[in-house]
Every structure is written in structure tokens, then in C-alpha cells.
């Protein structure tokens, strides 16, 4: 695998490979010194054309734990403000000698274009409303770690029989597009819950069902995945008000009681407490929102390792105690 652009590219086999490898990096992350030399000498650049806190920090932490060198390119302090084109920027960065670039851009498809222009590996860190594959992978990992043991003694993803609702602004969400593909690829049943104005204009080919009423489906869910509602959706006449949205689609303290006791509450962040999720619900024991963030680092370590690590690279060696393990042993 050269690039990670979309969940579709990975397919079920690719997703499962990342999840298996993530187990190893979770273990690394729990060590006193959570660092391995796997990517020593490699350089990973974060190229973020759009604001991001968690994704950028998560990738940089992952790269550092693999001993890669990291560079950050943020638009506010770059030549982009002097009118430099995307292609020129990317080719300039590549000329510095890099191995991978993590791209976040407000326009769909930018990582695909960059992958055509440069030789380094390209990782999609979120493109417009289109894809956010590492978010979907960390979501799958989080779900798997809560349900797999109970349902599949073999440790496989075992999403068969899981019912997952994605609630909110599906239309503008790259997280939803990647999650739908990933959850469905692993065998889950995916339900979209949103007002029609916040659904994509066409769901042709989407492996989902649509439920207009959150209360109707809530009791049957294993996972309720809430999306961030951006405030500008009101001015675009997509919803009448945040208050009305919360009343119909928010996971309120009153509503969360209908959720099964073993169900999970998830959110990609950043949360609007009091809009799509009530403050006390975010802190409910069923909420795994913090686990999503910590799993994100291990998932991104797995992705970087898959793209940049050489076949026989050491991954489970603490820096102070070298014990080589071949990649083949991980599967």
C-alpha cells in the first residue's frame, strides 16, 4: 500500500490488517517509554490547509512514537498566503526530501491530486466532505475493542449483528462517508438519522437505511455516533434553529435513558455540548469519546507503519531493549 486516501481503497481486508496492527501499537503506547525505532530516518509532513487540533496532533504523536522526523506546514504561516499554488507548495515540500505527507484540505479530492504529483506516500487527513479514513479506522478500532471480545473469541472485527446509527449532518461530513463504508465493510448494519436537509441528495449505492426519528431507533442500537453540527447550517436554511435540532436529534440527558446499558456513544469531536450532545451524556459511562482520541494515535501509528515501514521492520522493540519481531508475526 502506497497511499491511504479512502476507506474504499482499503476494503475489508485492509481495514482488518490495520486493526490487527493497531493492537500492537496500543501495547507500545502503554509502555513507560511509548516509542519504537520503526520509522527512524523517515520524514512525515503534516500539510494542513484547514484548522485541526486532534488529527494533526494525533498524526504527529504517532510519527514521533515511531521515531520519524516530523514537519508541520500550516497555511497561516506559509507562502500560500502569498498566492503559491497547491502544486507548487507540494512540490517544494517534496524537494526537501520527505517520505509521507498527511493532507487536510477543505476541498474534496485534494489528496488524490497530490498523490498524482509527488512520489511520497499521501495520507488523507480529511478532504472536504469526502473522506477521513483514519477517523473511520479509529472508530472501528474503538467499537471492536468494546464488542469483539464478547462476540468473537477469535479477535476479528465481528461487526456482524451490530446496529450503528450515525446521527446528524451526514451531508457535510467526511467522517460519515468514511464510517459508513468502514462499518458496512465489516458487516455492521448502518442507520442514518437526520433531517432530509442534512442527508446527501442521493444515497444511491450507500449500504444504509434512513430513519427520520432518533427516538424510534435509539433502543435498538449498539452504537450511536453523533456528528458535530456546525452553526452555519442555520444560515443556510438547513435547520430552523439549534434548539429545534437539539429537540429532534440531540442526545439529551432525557433521551439517553432509552439507550441500552451496553451501547456506545461516540463523537469525532469537537463536540458542541448542548447541541448534538448534552454535557452529562458526553461524560456518561457509555461514552467512549476519549477512547476514540487515544486509539487514534495507535491507529495512525499502524497506518504510518504500513505505508512507510519496510517489510521486516521492528515494531515491538522498546528503544532500551531491542528484540526484533517481524511483521509477519503480527498478523
Amino acid at each position: 500500500m502506497k497511499h491511504l486516501l479512502s476507506i474504499e481503497d482499503l476494503g475489508r481486508g485492509g481495514i482488518e490488517e490495520v486493526l490487527r496492527l493497531t493492537d500492537k501499537f496500543v501495547e507500545v503506547s502503554e509502555r513507560a517509554i511509548p516509542k519504537v525505532p520503526a520509522l527512524r530516518g523517515k520524514t512525515v509532513v503534516s500539510l494542513f490547509y484547514e484548522d485541526s487540533t486532534r488529527t494533526r496532533l494525533s498524526f504527529e504523536t504517532a510519527a514521533k512514537r515511531l521515531s520519524a522526523d516530523t514537519m508541520t506546514f500550516s497555511v497561516s504561516s506559509s507562502s500560500v498566503n502569498k498566492g503559491e499554488s497547491l502544486r507548487d507548495t507540494v512540490e517544494t515540500i517534496e524537494a526537501m526530501g520527505i517520505d509521507a505527507v498527511v493532507v487536510r484540505h477543505r476541498s474534496a479530492g485534494v489528496p488524490w491530486r497530490i498523490a498524482e504529483w509527488i512520489d511520497a506516500s499521501v495520507i488523507n487527513g480529511g478532504d472536504g466532505w469526502h473522506q477521513h479514513p483514519t477517523q473511520a479506522l479509529l472508530d472501528c478500532y474503538t467499537i471492536r475493542s468494546r464488542f469483539a471480545a464478547a462476540r468473537d473469541p477469535g479477535g476479528g472485527p465481528a461487526f456482524g449483528g451490530l446496529r450503528i446509527a450515525i446521527v446528524g449532518d451526514i451531508k457535510h461530513s467526511r467522517v460519515a462517508r468514511s464510517d459508513v463504508q468502514a462499518f458496512a465493510a465489516l458487516g455492521a448494519e448502518v442507520v442514518l438519522v437526520a433531517p432530509p436537509t442534512l442527508l446527501p441528495p442521493s444515497l444511491e449505492g450507500w449500504p444504509v437505511t434512513v430513519a427520520p426519528d432518533l427516538d424510534e431507533v435509539l433502543g435498538s442500537l449498539d452504537v450511536v455516533y453523533l456528528l458535530r453540527l456546525q452553526r452555519e447550517r442555520m444560515t443556510e436554511a438547513l435547520i430552523p434553529s439549534l434548539r429545534e435540532y437539539r429537540t429532534r436529534y440531540g442526545l439529551t440527558a432525557g433521551r439517553v435513558g432509552r439507550l441500552r446499558s451496553d451501547a456506545l456513544v461516540m463523537h469525532p469531536g469537537p463536540m458542541n455540548r448542548g447541541v448534538e450532545i448534552d454535557a452529562e451524556v458526553a461524560d456518561d459511562p457509555r461514552s467512549v469519546i476519549t477512547a476514540q482520541v487515544s486509539n487514534g494515535v495507535a491507529v495512525r501509528m499502524a497506518v504510518l507503519f504500513l505505508l512507510l515501514g519496510s517489510g521486516s521492520e521492528i515494531v515491538s522493540t522498546p528503544l532500551d531493549r531491542p528484540v526484533p519481531v517481524a511483521v509477519g508475526d503480527l498478523a
Binding site: 476541498s107 466532505w129 450507500w206
Partner: protein, 430 residues
């Protein structure tokens, strides 16, 4: 006995609005002097081989963006007209969305002056509103005085229904035709491709077919109200084609064009994220492509127009939703029509020569029957020649050609402008 010809086009089949016959064509002083089964070329007479070819009135493009003035890095009148000649065109209508817009005699005169001596005749379309801002009527009489016969705010539709009504009423006194870029701005706002399954999957904001259809519907209604003729630019949806067909059946004075990309490409191309496939109106779905093809075959659509829209490389190397819409068309339109449309060559030529010439008010200089005494604006084309589109070989200053690498059938061999062979053997002569 007519005087000795300067040029004889030998061995072709002459096809025009009156039919087809095998004949040689003699030309002198910019005029066809004879069309006969066999014409002797005497000493010093230039002979152009047309064996296996069709000799037809030169093609006429109703919709060319020559970019001059204002965007000379993307195209100029000189380079655009060379691309046109290579594509078999003897006349193009330059769209007024230049910088500044062609909304007054001064700018129109400048473009017309640049067009004199170009490799094809250059007519201009004038803007309907000052600065194409949709607020105030442009001085249409002043422009008509210079020979402007089409008016459009192309690049955008006239949003204000009252302004459009007044423009149509006013046009009646001048004998000119208004041409609409049909797009309801509010419904299309923020969109960068056709709204549908592909836009939903790719997460690219969509432009619904209905944004075009609402304005087609409105302008048919205004046509009925005012009695003024209206021409619909680049129809792209099944609904638009059906409405225009129905309006014609009611006897309303409506005409329409379609661009080659709307009968050859679909919105699935957007999955490449390569903005060479970004255009406005956007590439639509399979059903729309089929409807445009049917409309061209059954007469609902009168003309194939290129919407040739050059953009520099850096503009098209931007992210999809930042890149400007538009694609080249002049050098591939004829071959795409021959290759992709299931109609006789006579229909292709009607759609690309005499019907657009009528809409543009360019007859009899262009598009007329090839007989002794008619202006020698001609194209000689080999309908069977297969060739591979080479984007780098274009005469255009730009390279935004979505057909690069495609094999097409039908190639222009010679183009004759006012008796002068400006393209010979597929090569531009100047």
C-alpha cells in the same frame, strides 16, 4: 464561361442544406465560381485533394470564449481562431464575458478589430446587462449597429425576471436574439458538479438539474409573454431538452444548442478529481446524456456549440472546487459529433454549420448552399479518418482538454476562409 479559378477542391462529395452530390468546387476571389462533376485546373491553379472527403459550408460555433480582452494568458483572438480553423470552423461567436465585458461599442469594436485578419470570422455576442451584472440593460442598439446579433450574460443567467422580460421586449425592435445561460443562481449556489449519486459519494457540493430547468421554464414563459426569440445555451439536462422540444411544438421562437461534452461525458468523471472535467453547466448523468443525444437527433436542439473555454494550467491544477469551470472544444467538436452521435453526416453538418449560422445571423456569408456565387467559406473533412487527441498539439494557448488520448473518427483536412486555404492537410497555414 467563368474566369479561371484560383483554387479547385477536387474529388469530394459536396454536402449542404440542399443535399449531397459528387462535385469539384472552383473558387476565385473569395467566391465559389463553379460546382461541377469535374473541373479542369489549368496552369498555376492550386488543387486541394478532397477524395474520400466531404466538402461542406464552414462550421459555425455559437459559443466560443476567446478570452481577449483580459485573459490573454489563456487564449487570444489569434490563437482561438487558429484552433477554430483547425476544427473546421469559418466563423465563431465570441462570448462577452471578457474583462471588461463586451457590453458597449468600444469593447465590441476592439474584439471585432482583433478578429479582422484572424483565421476565421469572429462575430461577437454582446452582454444583455452592463458588466453582466444583471441590473441594467446594456446599450443593445449601439452594439447591434456594429453587427452584434446575439446577446447574452453567459457565465451567468439573468436572474431578475423583470430585467429579462424588458431585454426580450427591447430586442424585438432591433431584430436581435437573446441567448440565456440557464442557471438559477440561488439553487446552484456553492455547487461544483452535477448533484446526484456521484456528488453525494464524492462529497462535492452539487448543482441540481433543476437550477437549469427553472430558468429554461421561466424563459419559455417570457418568450410566450413577449414574442421575442430566445436561444438556450448549452442545454445539459433531460428536462431542459423536453421543455424546449415542447415549446417548439407550440410554435414558440426558441432555439437551443448543446455542447459536445454534454453528449459524451458524465459526472462519473469527477471521481478523478481532475478539474479538466469541471465545466458549467456540469457534466450530468447518463439519462441526461441520452436525452441530449436524442434532442440533437430529433431537432429539439438546433446546434452543437463548443463552449470552448480555455484556462491556464495553474488554474486547473487547483483543488476541484477552486478551479474555474470550462474545457476546450474547438478542435474536437466535429470528431466527437461524428464519432459519438448516431446520426448521418448531413445532420452533424446541419447542427454545426447552417443551423448555427442562422441563429447567429451569419447567413448567407456562412452556412449557405455551395453554389456558384456563394462565399467560399468551406470545410473539407474526412469522416472516416481516425486520430488520437493530443492535448499538447493544440493551437489553443491552454491545455484543458478532457479528451486527451482518446481516439476519434472524422478529421478536418482543409478549411477555406473567404477563398483562402487557412488549413491544408490538417495544418494551419498561418
Amino acid at each position: 464561361m467563368s474566369p479561371a479559378p484560383a483554387l479547385v477542391i477536387r474529388g469530394g462529395a459536396v454536402v449542404d442544406a440542399t443535399g449531397r452530390r459528387n462535385a469539384d468546387v472552383a473558387v476565385r476571389n473569395g467566391v465559389v465560381t463553379a460546382v461541377e462533376p469535374s473541373i479542369d485546373a489549368g496552369e498555376g491553379v492550386r488543387v486541394l485533394d478532397a477524395s474520400g472527403c466531404i466538402v461542406a459550408p464552414g462550421l459555425v460555433d455559437l459559443h466560443t470564449h476567446l478570452r481577449e480582452p483580459g485573459r490573454e494568458e489563456a487564449e487570444t483572438v489569434e490563437t482561438g481562431s487558429r484552433a477554430a480553423a483547425l476544427g473546421g470552423y469559418t466563423a465563431v461567436v465570441a462570448m462577452p464575458n471578457t474583462e471588461p465585458a463586451i457590453d458597449c461599442a468600444a469593447v465590441a469594436s476592439q474584439v471585432l478589430a482583433l478578429g479582422r485578419g484572424a483565421m476565421c470570422d469572429v462575430a461577437v455576442a454582446g452582454a444583455i446587462s452592463v458588466g453582466r451584472a444583471g441590473l441594467q440593460l446594456s446599450p443593445m442598439a449601439e452594439l447591434a449597429e456594429l453587427g452584434v446579433r446575439l446577446f447574452t450574460d453567459d457565465g451567468a443567467g439573468v436572474q431578475d425576471s423583470r430585467l429579462m422580460r424588458r431585454a426580450m421586449e427591447y430586442s424585438l425592435s432591433l431584430g436581435v436574439t437573446l441567448a440565456q445561460h440557464c442557471e438559477d443562481a440561488a439553487l446552484a449556489a456553492g455547487g461544483h458538479m452535477n448533484e446526484g449519486a456521484w456528488s453525494s459519494r464524492l462529497g462535492i457540493p452539487g448543482i441540481p438539474a433543476e437550477a437549469e430547468e427553472l430558468m429554461v421554464m421561466r424563459d419559455i414563459t417570457l418568450c410566450r409573454l413577449t414574442g421575442a426569440p430566445i436561444h438556450f445555451l448549452h442545454l445539459s439536462t433531460a428536462g431542459s431538452v423536453a421543455m424546449v422540444g415542447a415549446a417548439k411544438a407550440q410554435g414558440l421562437p426558441v432555439t437551443a444548442e448543446a455542447a459536445p461534452h454534454h453528449f459524451t461525458l458524465t459526472d462519473a468523471e469527477a471521481q478523478t478529481f481532475d478539474p479538466v472535467f469541471k465545466v458549467n453547466p456540469p457534466l450530468r448523468g447518463d439519462g441526461d446524456v441520452r436525452a441530449v443525444r436524442r434532442g440533437l437527433a430529433d431537432g429539439s436542439i438546433d446546434a452543437i456549440a463548443t463552449d470552448h473555454a480555455p484556462h491556464g494550467q495553474e488554474a486547473k491544477e487547483a483543488p476541484w472546487d477552486e478551479a474555474p469551470p470550462g474545457m476546450l472544444g474547438l478542435e474536437t467538436a466535429l470528431a466527437l459529433a461524428i464519432t459519438e452521435l448516431d446520426v448521418p453526416i448531413e445532420t452533424v453538418l446541419a447542427l454545426m454549420s447552417w443551423q448555427p449560422a442562422s441563429i447567429a445571423g451569419l447567413r448567407p456569408r456562412h452556412g449557405g448552399p455551395i453554389v456558384a456565387g456563394s462565399p467560399a467559406n468551406l470545410v473539407v473533412l474526412d469522416p472516416a479518418e481516425r486520430w488520437v487527441v493530443d492535448a499538447a498539439a493544440s493551437a489553443s494557448l491552454s491545455r484543458n482538454n478532457p479528451y486527451a488520448g482518446r481516439t476519434l473518427s472524422g478529421r478536418v483536412r482543409h478549411t477555406i476562409l473567404a477563398g483562402e486555404p487557412v488549413v491544408v492537410g490538417g495544418e494551419a497555414q498561418r
